[in-house]
C-alpha cells in the first residue's frame, strides 16, 4: 500500500499518518486531474460524432479549453439570491464534489495500491454516492426558487429510483465473490464477471448512468426543459463544482463497472511483484475504464433523452423486477455450481500434455470457475430471451390498443347533421 513508502527513520505513527494523508491526496487528485483531460475528450468526441471538429482554438487541438472554461468560471461574480439559506446554499456544491471524491478511497488501483481496503467496500461506495443526491436536494431547497425546488424534486426522484436496481445488481458480484471488499471482488475474478452475468453488468451500467444523470437520463442537465433545474441560482465556480462533480461521477462509475465486472486491474502481467506489477495493473484498470467512458460518451451522443414518466416506468416496471429475478437466478446457479478451488488445483497439478498446457494458460482459479460461468451465461441468455418475449407480448398488446383507437369508425357520417338531443329519447 501507499502507506509503506515512508516508514524509514521517522516516528512510526507520524509516518503512517503522513503516508495516509499523501495517499488521500494522491487518490483524490487522480480523479480531479483526469477530469481536466476528460472534459476536453468529451467535447472532441461529441464534435466528431456530430460531424464537426470540436474545440481546436485554445492551445494545440484545443487542449487548453478546460483551463479557459475554469478561468471563465473563476472570474464570474458570485450572486447569492435574496432569501436563500446561506449556509446550505454554499455547502451543497461542496458536498456534491466531496461525495464523488470519497468513492475513490475504496477503488483498487492494483494489487498493492488501494486507498482503504475496508471489508464493506461495495456498501460503502453506495452509501457515499448517495450524498450527491442529498447535495442536489439541498441545492434546490436552499435556492429560494420554486423552479429550483421542482427541478430538485424531479432529480431526486430519478436518483433514488435508480438506486434500487443499482444496489441489487451490486449484490451479484458480492454474491459471486463472497466478499464485499472491492479488492476481494477483483481478486476473486479469475474469469471476469461480465462473462458470467452480462445482464447484471447491463443493469448496473444503465442504472449508474441514470444515477449520474448522463444521457439518455439527461433530465438533470436538460437546459431546454426546466431552465437548468436545481442549478438556476448558482453562478461561477459553484456551478462549476456541480459540473465537475457530474463529470467525475461519470468516470467513477466507469471505473466501478470495470472493477466489479471487468476484472479491475487483472490482466496478464498484473500479478508481478512490486511497483512494476502495480503500474501494469493500474494501466489495465485505466484502459478498461476509458473504454467504458467512451461507451458512455457514445450513448450520450446517439440516444435521445427519455421523458421523466418513461424513465420512472422503465425503472420500476422493468429494471427492478428484472434485477430481483436476476439475483435469484444467479444465486441458484452459484449454489449448484460452486467453484471448487481445491479440485481445480489438483487437476492443474496432475494434468498432462495438452490439458496441462491449456490449464497453464488460464490458471487453476479460472478452471474452477469455468462451469459456473458457462452455466450462468446460458441462464442469463435464457433469462434475456424470456424477458424479450414478455416485452414483445406487451408491445403487441399496446400496439393493438393503439390500432383499435386509430381505426375506430367515426361517430357521425357526413350527411347526418349533429342536432341537439331530441326530446324523449
Amino acid at each position: 500500500m501507499i502507506e509503506f513508502l515512508t516508514n524509514a527513520g521517522w516516528n512510526k505513527d507520524v509516518a503512517t499518518f503522513v503516508a495516509i494523508v499523501l495517499g488521500v491526496i494522491a487518490v483524490s487528485s487522480f480523479g480531479l486531474i483526469w477530469i481536466i483531460f476528460s472534459i476536453w475528450l468529451e467535447r472532441k468526441i461529441a464534435g466528431r460524432i456530430q460531424d464537426r471538429v470540436g474545440p481546436n482554438r485554445t492551445g494545440p487541438y484545443g487542449l487548453f479549453q478546460t483551463f479557459a472554461d475554469i478561468g471563465k468560471l473563476l472570474t464570474k461574480e458570485d450572486i447569492t439570491p435574496e432569501g436563500a439559506d446561506k449556509f446550505v446554499y454554499n455547502i451543497a456544491p461542496l458536498l456534491s464534489v466531496v461525495a464523488v471524491i470519497l468513492i475513490w478511497a475504496v477503488i483498487p488501483f492494483s494489487s498493492i495500491w488501494i486507498g482503504a481496503d475496508i471489508n464493506v467496500g461495495a456498501l460503502y461506495f453506495t452509501a457515499v454516492g448517495s450524498f450527491g443526491t442529498l447535495a442536489i436536494l439541498l441545492a434546490g431547497w436552499s435556492s429560494n426558487n420554486k423552479y429550483a425546488l421542482l427541478g430538485a424534486f424531479r432529480v431526486t426522484a430519478q436518483l433514488i429510483s435508480y438506486e434500487v436496481p443499482m444496489v441489487l445488481s451490486i449484490l451479484v458480484p458480492v454474491l459471486l465473490a463472497g466478499t464485499m471488499s472491492m479488492q476481494g471482488i477483483v481478486q476473486a475474478q479469475h474469469i471476469w464477471y461480465i462473462f458470467a452475468v452480462p445482464i447484471t453488468a447491463g443493469i448496473f451500467f444503465t442504472s449508474s448512468l441514470a444515477e449520474v444523470g448522463r444521457s439518455p437520463f439527461d433530465l438533470i442537465e436538460a437546459e431546454s426543459e426546466i431552465v437548468a433545474g436545481f442549478n438556476i441560482e448558482y453562478t461561477g465556480m459553484k456551478f462549476g463544482m456541480f459540473y465537475a462533480a457530474e463529470f467525475i461521477h461519470a468516470f467513477t462509475i466507469c471505473v466501478l463497472t470495470a472493477v466489479l465486472f471487468l476484472g479491475g486491474w487483472r490482466g496478464p502481467g498484473a500479478n508481478l511483484e512490486g511497483v512494476v506489477g502495480g503500474i501494469i495493473g493500474f494501466g489495465f484498470l485505466f484502459v478498461k475504464s476509458a473504454a467504458l467512458y467512451f461507451l458512455v460518451m457514445l450513448i450520450r451522443n446517439t440516444v435521445p433523452r427519455v421523458r421523466i414518466d418513461q424513465m420512472m416506468a422503465f425503472n420500476w416496471k422493468f429494471l427492478v423486477p428484472l434485477s430481483l429475478v436476476n439475483v435469484l437466478v444467479v444465486a441458484l446457479i452459484s449454489r449448484l455450481f460452486l467453484p471448487d478451488y481445491g479440485a481445480a488445483q489438483n487437476m492443474a497439478s496432475t494434468a498432462t500434455g495438452l490439458g496441462a498446457f491449456l490449464i497453464s494458460l488460464i490458471g487453476p482459479g479460472a478452471l474452477a470457475e469455468l462451469p459456473r460461468t458457462i452455466v450462468s451465461l446460458i441462464a442469463n441468455v435464457g433469462l434475456w430471451w424470456v424477458v424479450s418475449e414478455l416485452l414483445h407480448r406487451y408491445a403487441n398488446l399496446e400496439r393493438r390498443k393503439v390500432i383499435d383507437l386509430v381505426t375506430e369508425p367515426p361517430q357521425f357520417s357526413p350527411e347526418q347533421q349533429p342536432t341537439s338531443a331530441p326530446a324523449g329519447r
Binding site: L74, I79, N144, N145, K146, L175, M237, D309
Partner: protein, 119 residues
C-alpha cells in the same frame, strides 16, 4: 504495520472538503463583487416572482420515496446473506427466495394500485 483501514476514510472525509473549497477560495479573490438588488432577485423567467418559493409538491414523490425505502431496507438485509452465501446450505436460497417473493408481491401491489405512475 497493521493500521485500521477506516482511518484512511476518516482522513479522506476531512481532507476532501479542501479540494472543492480551493477553487472557491481562489474565485473569491478573482471575482468582481458588485451586488445590487435587481441582480439578487430570485429568477422567474424575467418576471416578478409570484408567491413563496416553498410550493406544494406532488404526492407522487412521496410514494416513490416510500417504495424506494422498502427496497433499500430489503437490500440491506440481502447484503450479509450474499456475503455468507457460499458457505450456507441450499436452504438459504429458498429462504431468501421467499423473502424476495414477499417483496415482489409488495411491488406488484404498488404497481396495480398505480403508486408507480408518474401522472
Amino acid at each position: 504495520m497493521q493500521v485500521n483501514e477506516w482511518i484512511f476514510i476518516a482522513i479522506a472525509i476531512l481532507a476532501s472538503w479542501v479540494f472543492p473549497a480551493m477553487p472557491l477560495v481562489i474565485a473569491r479573490f478573482l471575482q468582481p463583487r458588485r451586488p445590487n438588488k435587481i441582480k439578487q432577485e430570485t429568477y422567474e423567467c424575467g418576471i416578478e416572482t409570484v408567491g413563496t418559493a416553498w410550493v406544494q409538491f406532488k404526492v407522487q414523490y412521496y410514494l416513490y420515496a416510500l417504495v424506494f425505502l422498502v427496497f433499500d431496507i430489503e437490500v440491506v438485509f440481502l447484503f450479509p446473506w450474499a456475503v455468507a452465501y457460499n458457505q450456507l446450505p441450499l436452504f438459504a436460497f429458498v429462504e431468501m427466495g421467499i423473502f424476495i417473493a414477499l417483496l415482489g408481491v409488495a411491488l406488484a401491489y404498488a404497481w396495480r394500485k398505480g403508486a408507480l405512475e408518474w401522472g
